[in-house]
Symmetry: C2
Subunit: 217 residues, 2 copies
């Protein structure tokens, strides 16, 4: 087992501290299962929360976007950022309204993101984005050209100030409520994929690749 | 059709403006389909992005939590907040790495949240939270008592400065890439529910209610 992340006053889970997790295995697993994060940043005192793709390579998170976007321009300025990834695993249906809850796993990473200037590291990150969304996809497609690389900003956020929060298991009702004749339990939720939809302009004779057909998240 | 939201410099979609939507029907539909949002707020210059439940009643969004939580204590101070809801509808697999994308629908709402003090409005919001997660659940459960109401803070954010962003449809590749022998298309994603799991302490003879069994999001 590797060294866990050190909780700081900003990342230590305060409410329901049992749900706080700081080990790398938990944090990495949550990050690797998702591919859309919510990035928080501040412009003139107003927080913005924007959904975007991300990828992890070792202890680094990467996000990217058009060099012209407001988010990328803001973050390139070396401002504080919060990157949050959440999986909803189930509805927790208790006997009392108060104890209704959600089973979830989330990671919150704080820090300052830096612009990746090195073309090789940038290309590695773009490969990671693509393969993070669809394993093996990078080997099947046309790589970015120089102009596309230029139009794309890639930012790196080191995994340093990080915590996970996890709720699992059945509802926790008040002792006296267990005798109420109310159904209680968990409704599991998960993401599933439907039938792949061919691009209307697909060349004839091209089959849906195995990684797309067998996609599981 | 009702009056759309007026885009402000903070909510007008700048990149790919065609994806920006400001009509109430679109915004309401996206909000009503989800139940977990990401709330952004700032503490000493650091943005935090925290997943939490929400509900909508007319032109008001509600979030809630323990009165003791950092998020609720911060937001009760009348600070600027950003509430974002995102649905991921599919992976957009293009012929080029550059044009890979995600089909999604998101809503970003900005403003200042206010604490609901009126017990009747608070109870209405709690009913909305419960029924928003599981339609009809409120009628089956024990209502909050005075102590629970006290321990719960409910905040309201008026839907005023709001925009939606929506991507649909197939990949958009560069003209010359359509002749490449690469499969391209969309892999649809959706949330589905599994078999309900009875609480281990469930009273004997209680059946899974129809709304839980027939859950569709």
């Amino acid at each position: 087992m590797t060294q866990p992340f050190t909780p700081t006053p900003r990342t230590k889970v305060q409410r329901l501290p049992d749900r706080g997790k700081y080990d790398k295995e938990t944090v990495h697993a949550i990050l690797d299962q998702g591919f859309v994060c919510h990035v928080g940043f501040v412009v003139e005192g107003q927080p913005f929360v924007i959904p975007t793709n991300y990828a992890r390579i070792d202890e680094m998170l990467y996000i990217h976007g058009s060099s012209a976007s407001r988010m990328l321009k803001t973050l390139t300025g070396g401002v504080s950022v919060c990157l949050t990834v959440t999986h909803v695993d189930g509805l927790v249906l208790a006997r009392s309204a108060f104890h209704h809850s959600v089973n979830y796993r989330s990671v919150v990473a704080l820090g300052v993101a830096t612009l990746i200037e090195d073309p090789a590291e940038k290309m590695c990150a773009l490969e990671a984005f693509t393969n993070h969304v669809m394993p093996g996809r990078w080997n099947d497609i046309r790589f970015p050209n120089e102009q596309e690389l230029k139009a794309t900003s890639v930012l790196a956020l080191p995994l340093k100030e990080v915590s996970a929060k996890v709720r699992v298991g059945p509802p926790k009702d008040d002792a006296e409520d267990y005798s109420l004749p109310i159904w209680a339990g968990v409704l599991p939720l998960h993401t599933s994929s439907g039938e792949p939809i061919n691009d209307p302009k697909l060349l004839p004779g091209l089959e849906v690749p195995l990684n797309v057909r067998a996609y599981l998240r």
